[in-house]
């Protein structure tokens, strides 16, 4: 009787072990499946929502253009001839900021966060300034962000 019980216990443990091992074996691939790979960075070109590059010349003095980069929405403003590029994603909760030319500042429509022309927070809930990008112009006149 005793012997039979230990055999039973042993077999029980064996089943638990096999099942446990199998689950452990499958957990790793599932975890990696759920984590998307970060893509290798290519040239980060400023494009419109359809993926067509936006030429530098289309942004007029005092005007702004909203487009996309590999990292998400970007807003580019031209002031006194110079282009300034910022991430258009509000650092508070991720709404898209607008450029208000009359006040020379960015405004977030969600909770009224305000940023000055250099991206620094003026008022409202955003905890950090807008991310600033460096700009390079290709020979075709396209804008590369970095």
């Amino acid at each position: 009787m005793d012997k039979k019980m230990t055999r039973r216990k042993f077999l029980g443990k064996l089943v638990a072990g096999i099942l446990g091992g199998t689950i452990a074996l499958f957990t790793a691939p599932i975890a990696f499946y759920l984590l998307p790979k970060k893509e290798k960075k290519k040239l980060n070109i400023f494009v419109d929502p359809k993926g067509n590059p936006i030429p530098e010349s289309s942004i007029k003095e005092g005007d702004y253009e909203l487009g996309l980069s590999d990292e998400g929405p970007v807003i580019i403003v031209r002031r006194e001839g110079v282009l300034y590029a910022f991430s258009a994603v509000c650092t508070h909760l991720g709404c898209i900021v607008k450029w208000i030319p009359s006040r020379n500042e960015f405004l977030c429509p969600c909770h009224a966060g305000r940023f000055d022309a250099n991206g620094a927070v003026i008022s409202g809930p955003p905890p950090a300034p807008l991310k600033r990008y460096k700009i390079e112009i290709t020979s075709e006149g396209f804008i590369i962000l970095s």
Binding site: L35, L66, G72, C95, I96, C108, P109, P125
Partner: protein
């Protein structure tokens, strides 16, 4: 026909089960309105499953096609508008009735020994239903979906150290994109409904094992008992039809409650609509976060409140169930509810 039924019964003894678990299952005769809400929830869950399966036949989970396919369901498929509205209104009603159900369990103290597991499974169900609502909200890929999800999935980012990683995993990337739609779609139509189904089964299993509670303050030896079927089921049906009436009232006359204007504009990642707000059942949490200056502190406080609610049966261990004998507890509950409702209203008008 009768012959076939008889033959089946002879083999499977189904009438035995019927007598044991339905007509022979006796419940207290003085169960009130609040005891019927569980059945209402089962009905709503069934409605969500049926309408969900129907919507799935036309819905396309791709950022280019999702909005179009939903418009196709609404405008072209016969009664598509009905199915879609019922699913959307049903989700809201689900949350509302869950609030009522939890409220009654709180007030009647029915989470107390021996019904702790009822409460725990219930809380898990509540959380899962909220996740289900949140994930379903993104699927139409409208302006409302897109921006509500962008804001909602940003909050975990406030956690120190792992915040960015959490947001990344939830969205499947840095931003809300096709990758996000894919995972939300998958959990919305399979993982969560399936888990909810299992949890409801456990919830009901434990309720049958302990028996339904007597309304507090009644003498259990004196109360007359009635059969669950058909007597109590008839009581259930009364309340179920009241809620169905409310549901169809909204479906036919006030669909804009659940499908406002921004739900009719396709998602545009480059333009945030004015005044985006979460659904009404998240407004209090949202307003709370806006009031607490430190975002992580705001989330942390809410998590603590959630854990306290979850563990309530182990914190409040006195056997007394009558609410008028528990003034401190009653005070806290009423204060909590008033606070919650005020935050919701504040979040709505601000």
């Amino acid at each position: 026909m009768n012959k076939i039924l008889k033959a089946i019964d002879e083999r499977l003894k189904l009438s035995e089960l019927y007598e044991k678990y339905l007509s022979g299952y006796m419940v207290p005769g003085n169960l009130n309105f609040w005891y019927c809400l569980g059945s209402v929830l089962i009905v709503i869950f069934s409605i969500q499953i049926i309408t969900g399966i129907l919507l799935l036949m036309y819905y396309i989970p791709s950022v280019d096609k999702a909005f179009e396919s939903v418009m196709y369901i609404t405008n072209k498929v016969p009664f598509g508008w009905l199915i879609r509205r019922v699913h959307a209104v049903g989700a809201n009603l689900f949350v509302l009735v869950l609030f009522f159900h939890m409220f009654s369990v709180l007030i009647m103290g029915s989470y107390k020994k021996p019904r702790e597991i009822h409460w725990i499974t219930g809380c898990l169900l509540f959380a899962l239903v909220l996740v289900e609502c949140l994930s379903g909200y993104l699927l139409p890929w409208s302006q409302l979906s897109y921006w509500a999800t962008t804001v909602a999935t940003n909050f975990p980012g406030a956690f120190p150290f792992i915040g960015d990683f959490l947001v990344y995993v939830i969205r499947g990337g840095e931003k809300v994109t096709q990758l996000t739609l894919g995972r939300f779609f998958s959990i919305h139509v399979s993982l969560i409904p399936f888990t909810i189904f299992i949890l409801i089964a456990i919830h009901i299993f434990v309720i049958r094992r302990t028996g339904i509670s007597f309304p507090p303050g009644t003498d259990e030896t004196k109360v007359k008992k009635i059969p669950f079927f058909p007597h109590f089921v008839l009581e259930d049906l009364k309340v179920i039809y009241i809620f169905l009436a409310i549901m169809f009232l909204i479906v036919f006359f006030y669909p804009q409650f659940v499908l406002p204007r921004d739900a009719l504009i396709p998602a545009d990642p480059l333009s945030t609509p004015e005044h985006i707000k979460p659904e009404w059942y998240f407004l209090a949490n949202y307003q709370f976060l806006k009031l607490i200056p430190n975002e992580f502190l705001g989330i942390f406080l809410q998590l603590i409140i959630a854990v306290i609610i979850f563990l309530l049966p182990f914190i409040d261990r006195t056997p007394e169930r009558r609410i008028w004998k528990r003034p401190v507890f009653f005070g806290i509950v009423i204060f909590g509810i008033i606070f919650y409702v005020l935050l919701t209203i504040w979040g709505y008008i601000s």
